[in-house]
Structure formats: structure tokens, C-alpha cells
């Protein structure tokens, strides 16, 4: 069930991609996306220094010096390129990555994201999260609507440490798709049989219904 919901999110996000885009996929749900982008000429960027990342190779072709940012073995697509970490983040920071799909801990109603640290816990990892938040042309958040214990993730105000002042562009959960325009949050699609009232209950963030006709998928 949960895996089905995660796949639903991955599939919906893949619909956003356009031909020739450069895409960076974060850890968690985003790693499921490659299975659902068939038919589109997009190029996967991996921040450890690879453009044109391909699928997991057969065991006999595994080289642990050809890995993803999640440190899993990968292959290269035709026309792929390899570069060092400084050039890889030049691409990210310089706005050369069209879409970054990131997991999150919280997002507030302006689109500010918290996806690296939880107060009171050890804050010992940030990785490339802040660089991607600062630099990618478009940021899509892939997340379950609430955390496992039901705590809301889409909030009026962040309670976890911010990942940066740059606002995200879209959130896709198992229940809904939200877009941000001028730091305002709009519900643009409902992806489950949840009612608008139920959705409101699990979403403390204020959002408007899109002026586009709201789609129930």
C-alpha cells in the first residue's frame, strides 16, 4: 500500500518532465522515478559527478566506482559524461539542472523547505540538499502527505531548520499536487479519494484551490 502510494507519487512527478530536461533525483521516493519516465528524452544528473545516469547494471557489470549519489551501482547512458564534484555543483548552483526532485521533512505554505535536520537530533548530514534547493531551476518535492505517525508535513511555518530561502515550485504527495506561485500555495490536483475537507485536516498550510479547474485523478 505505502509502496503503491510512493509509486503513484513517482509516476505523477515523471509527468512533469519535458524532453531534453536535466533532472536530479534525491534519495527516497525520487529514486523510484526512473522507472516511469519512459518515452521522454531526459538526462539524469547525479551530484557525485555524472550526467546521463542509467539503470542498475547486471551484477557482472557492477563497478563501485560508477555509482549514484545514493552510492548504488549504476550504468551510463549513451552520451553520458563524467566530471568532478566542483563541476557537478557548478551545474547545480549555476542553474544548469532543470528539475530537482527532493524528499522533505516539512514544507511551509510559502514553499520554504526543511529537508536536512530535525531539532534535538544529531545534525550530521546535509549532503547536496542545500545546493539543490539554492540552484535548481525547478524544485519538486516528493513526499508522503504526513509523517508515519500522522504528523503533518505541509505547515503554516517550519518547525525544523530551513534548507534555504529559495522556495520550491511543486509538492506531490499520495493525496494531492500543490503548486506555488509568488509564495502562495495552490491545490491543483487531488490524487486519491480523499475529500477536500479531509485534505484540509491533514494540511495545516493555507492553500487556495487553483483557478484552473481542480482535477481529481
Amino acid at each position: 500500500m505505502s509502496q503503491q502510494q510512493r509509486i503513484k507519487i513517482a509516476r505523477r512527478i515523471a509527468e512533469e518532465f519535458e524532453d531534453n530536461q536535466i533532472i536530479n533525483l534525491g534519495v527516497g521516493i525520487p529514486t523510484l522515478i526512473p522507472d516511469y519516465i519512459e518515452g521522454k528524452d531526459v538526462y539524469l544528473h547525479s551530484e557525485n559527478g555524472l550526467l546521463g545516469m542509467g539503470p542498475t547494471p547486471e551484477e557482472e557489470f557492477v563497478n563501485m566506482d560508477l555509482i549514484s549519489a545514493s552510492k548504488k551501482p549504476v550504468s551510463v547512458e549513451t552520451g553520458a559524461s563524467i566530471f568532478d564534484s566542483s563541476d557537478s555543483f557548478l551545474m547545480i548552483r549555476g542553474g544548469h539542472v532543470d528539475v530537482a526532485v527532493l524528499g522533505t521533512l516539512q514544507v511551509d505554505e510559502t514553499g520554504e523547505v526543511a529537508n536536512w535536520a530535525v531539532p534535538g537530533q544529531n545534525i550530521l548530514g546535509v549532503g547536496g540538499a542545500m545546493d539543490l534547493v539554492a540552484g535548481a531551476k525547478k524544485i519538486i518535492i516528493a513526499t508522503m502527505h504526513t509523517s508515519k505517525d500522522g504528523t503533518p508535513k505541509l505547515l503554516k511555518k517550519l518547525t525544523f531548520p530551513s534548507s534555504g530561502v529559495r522556495k520550491v515550485d511543486m509538492i506531490v504527495t499520495e493525496h494531492a499536487v500543490f503548486e506555488f506561485k509568488d509564495e502562495k500555495m495552490f491545490l491543483i490536483e487531488v490524487l486519491s479519494d480523499i475529500t477536500l475537507e479531509e485534505l484540509k485536516e491533514i494540511t495545516p498550510a493555507s492553500y487556495e484551490l487553483s483557478t484552473k479547474k481542480l482535477i481529481r485523478v
Binding site: D65, D84, A117
Partner: protein, 231 residues
């Protein structure tokens, strides 16, 4: 070959308290043999600059077990439980830097640049205390260059002059680290004649490299393993 160094002499080049730049992303592109030597060297109070501290008991993770480290500077330590424990007990200082900022700060260290302004981390805890400046398109923070006493890097091949190429994404932080330390030691799988690597394919020109060490590891099934017994 002038720059060739025997593995057993390597740790003589490291001093207590040195700041080491260590290449690698997880265990990929990591100078495993050099790290092993440090783990048995008894060196103390080392600072390591590396994206992460390997894995539990592997790669740089070994130095947590052997107790060589005072401080680690990097972007991601959560995946090594030993690092988290050592930090919790106050046995290890950790300085967390966004991955792109880390790579760029090291490049600046090698390039004679004092610091650079980035939007990464603006408005976050990691920007606290950092100098801010507003440019045409918004606010930036100043990140200062990072340099090391010694860089330990991993390449695929060196030629006899010390020019280097890397294996796929094993490249990662290695080329920038090669620029940013007083002493640079490259662990390689193989040494070829000068001229075998074409001028336009060399990634790290030999002027950055002080010593080359041949790895004691062998690659089997795409993974570096220690040979059963070397003699």
C-alpha cells in the same frame, strides 16, 4: 620514476595534527591503502576533510576505530554510526558543510582564492556567523577557502610523471583535493609510461602531484578487496 613512493613509507609524511584532504564519495574513489597505513600509524589529532567518513569500519571509518581523528569536515556523516557515536561522546568534532560548498571551497584553496559568495545555505543554520553580501540577484554568504597539509587521493592510473586519470565517478572530490594541499599523494591501480595518456585526457596534471603509491587492493567484481595474502 621519481615520484614513486612505497606504501610502507607513506605514513612518515604525515604529522600529528595534520589536516588531511581525503578523496572519495562513500567508498568510491577513496585511497583505501593510504587510509589503512594511517590506521596503523598511531598518528593523533588529525583533521580529515572528506565528503563523509566512509562506512562503519571501512575506508575513513577505520580511523574512527583506530582513534586518529580529532575533527572531520564534510557534508554527510549520518551513514556511519561510529561517526555519530564519537561526536555524541565528544570524541570527534564535526564541521558540516554543504557538498557543493565543500567542493568549491577546496577548489578555491587550490586556486589562490580567499573565498567565494554562494547562495547555498543562505538563511539556514549553516550560514550563521558568515559574512553576507547582496549582489544583483539576491543575498549570498561568504565561504572561505579550505586547504590541507596533505591530500590523499585515489586515481585509476598515473603516468611516470604523475599525470592522473580517474575511474568513472571515482573522480568526485579527487581532482580538486589534488590542488589544495602542500603535499599530494595519489594512490593508483596502475602506472603507465608518460605519453600513454593523451594531453587532452589528463584530468590532474603532474604539477599537482608529489607522490604516487600503487594500491595494495585489487578490484574483483567491481569492488576493491584486499588480496588474500601479500608477501
Amino acid at each position: 620514476m621519481k615520484k614513486l613512493l612505497k606504501l610502507e613509507h607513506f605514513s612518515e609524511l604525515i604529522k600529528d595534527g595534520d589536516k588531511l584532504l581525503v578523496g572519495g564519495f562513500g567508498l568510491s574513489g577513496t585511497p583505501l591503502s593510504l587510509i589503512d597505513e594511517i590506521a596503523t600509524s598511531g598518528k593523533k589529532n588529525l583533521t580529515v576533510v572528506s565528503n563523509n567518513l566512509g562506512e562503519k569500519g571501512k575506508g575513513l571509518g577505520k580511523l574512527l576505530v583506530s582513534g586518529n581523528l580529532k575533527k572531520a569536515i564534510g557534508s554527510y556523516f549520518t551513514t556511519n554510526g561510529d561517526a555519530v557515536n564519537a561526536w555524541s561522546k565528544g570524541e570527534l568534532e564535526i564541521e558540516l558543510v554543504p557538498q557543493g560548498t565543500l567542493a568549491e571551497a577546496i577548489r578555491c584553496g587550490g586556486a589562490g582564492i580567499g573565498g567565494f559568495y554562494t547562495k547555498t545555505a543562505v538563511g539556514t543554520k549553516l550560514a550563521e556567523g558568515k559574512h553576507k553580501m547582496t549582489f544583483d540577484d539576491g543575498d549570498y554568504i561568504l565561504e572561505k577557502a579550505i586547504k590541507g597539509d596533505v591530500a590523499l587521493i585515489k586515481a585509476l592510473k598515473a603516468d611516470t610523471l604523475g599525470n592522473l586519470i580517474y575511474d568513472q565517478t571515482g573522480r568526485n572530490f579527487n581532482p580538486v583535493m589534488a590542488t589544495a594541499a602542500k603535499l599530494v599523494i595519489a594512490e593508483v591501480d596502475e602506472i603507465v609510461e608518460a605519453g600513454e595518456i593523451k594531453p587532452e585526457e589528463i584530468v590532474t596534471p603532474h604539477l599537482f602531484v608529489d607522490y604516487v603509491v600503487v594500491t595494495k587492493y585489487v578490484k574483483e567484481g567491481g569492488r576493491y578487496v584486499e588480496p588474500a595474502t601479500t608477501n
